[in-house]
């Protein structure tokens, strides 16, 4: 077993993370016939199998969504588990972090942790890919996600050939790094019209929860 992918999204098979992995694997398969198993970290009933797959892999890629500025708690637990293994130092490890926030900047802090984690576990760090603005890609029309999926396909093909991420594609995916002044002004204008809440309000109304949207059920004072 050469390469193993771990999907760290708590949403597992219905996750946006899975869509990115699918595109990545599409590109990977263009370059090689070698199969790449994908494990879902949230599938706790397969934990032993998952940890064995980690041990046996030569290259590990962990995809996860940004949860409260870091990896989700289940991914942290996975890191705690693999830290107990000794003598797996020569393994290569890379990460793909996606977030709902549009700016890549929000994920650069976890990137620093991931680089240090690899160093701490004496693994060969091959980098972290960051992509913001991923929430909602499941319901976006194809023309809106075409470039995103194409970039992940290219990323997968490059990885199959080189066992590392393509810096050029990674830089492209990190855009926007921060919100430009113009975008911030436009956002502020649109937010006054309610346009920026369109996605949320649509779902709230569909669930007959719109009138309750400002509820504070845990307040005691």
């Amino acid at each position: 077993m050469q390469v193993v992918i771990f999907n760290g999204s708590p949403r597992r098979k219905i996750s946006n993370t899975k869509l990115l992995i699918n595109s990545f694997l599409l590109g990977y398969k263009k370059a090689t016939d070698t199969k790449v198993p994908v494990y879902y970290i949230a599938s706790f009933n397969k934990k032993e199998e998952m940890l064995n797959a980690y041990k046996n892999a030569k290259v590990v890629i962990i995809f996860f969504p940004l949860y409260t500025d870091m990896m989700p708690g289940i991914v942290k637990e996975f890191f705690e588990d693999i830290s107990k293994f000794k003598n797996y130092e020569r393994k290569k490890i890379g990460f793909v972090v996606q977030s709902g926030f549009p700016e890549a900047y929000q994920s650069i802090f976890v990137e620093k942790y991931l680089e240090k984690l690899a160093k701490r576990l004496k693994l060969n760090y091959v980098g972290t890919v960051i992509k913001g603005g991923v929430e909602g890609i499941k319901i976006m029309p194809a023309w809106m996600t075409k470039e995103l999926f194409a970039n992940f396909t290219d990323l997968g093909e490059y990885f199959a050939k080189n066992n590392e991420f393509d810096d050029k594609i990674n830089r492209k995916l990190r855009k926007p790094y921060r919100m430009s002044k113009i975008k911030r002004i436009l956002f502020s204008i649109f937010s006054k019209t309610g346009l920026t809440n369109f996605y949320w309000n649509g779902n709230l109304k569909r669930n007959k929860a719109y009138e309750k949207r400002y509820n504070r059920p845990y307040a005691q004072k």
Partner: protein, 184 residues
């Protein structure tokens, strides 16, 4: 003051860290503060499933039925929160991270621009400031502390509050933590 302590120690039996927390609770109480302390690993707590029912189905309510509800109530009604945990592979424990993930129930899904970035708007009027109390690992270095500081500063931006300190049980007494938490 009302203080909430989230103890992320993964050791459920006796440990130096949890003994320290026990003594810290006593010190707060001696100073007439009300303390809720939760040893997370001893509770029935699931991870955040990312279902977003709390944002668009039952606004403000977590649909996972376990011990988290009492923590949500304690957290949002506190004057100060302490995120307490020994470090495990350079960061606070998975138990503490799991409950931190679920605190998004306390935020509103709407987005606003703050610090020139997109962030979720408030659901509640006030959010408590917090302190970070850690136990260092043998190999903890300055870089690890910087990473922790940066990430919990980010958490503070997202949760409409301030991180008041990062302190270590290796270096600070319980009394110092009480003083830092209450600005005495």
């Amino acid at each position: 003051m009302k203080i909430t302590i989230l103890n992320g120690d993964l050791e459920t039996k006796k440990s130096d860290f949890s003994d320290y927390i026990e003594e810290l609770v006593k010190q707060f109480q001696v100073n007439n503060h009300i303390v809720d302390v939760f040893h997370l690993k001893k509770m029935e707590l699931s991870y955040c499933h990312g279902c977003w029912n709390c944002w668009w189905k039952n606004p403000g309510l977590c649909s996972t039925k376990d011990d988290a509800e009492i923590i949500f109530k304690s957290y949002i009604n506190s004057d100060f929160v302490i995120f307490a945990s020994p470090l495990y592979v350079g960061f606070t424990s998975s138990s503490l991270k799991k409950i931190s993930d679920r605190l998004i129930v306390l935020l509103h899904p709407y987005i606003e621009i703050r610090n020139k970035e997109s962030h979720h708007t408030k659901r509640y009027k006030n959010y408590p400031d917090f302190g970070l109390l850690i136990k260092e690992e043998d190999d903890t270095d300055k870089e690890d502390i910087q990473i922790l500081n940066d990430i919990y500063d980010r958490f503070a931006i997202n949760f409409h509050c301030e991180k008041r300190y990062l302190k270590s049980v290796n270096l600070n007494t319980e009394k110092e933590i009480v003083n830092a938490s209450c600005n005495i």
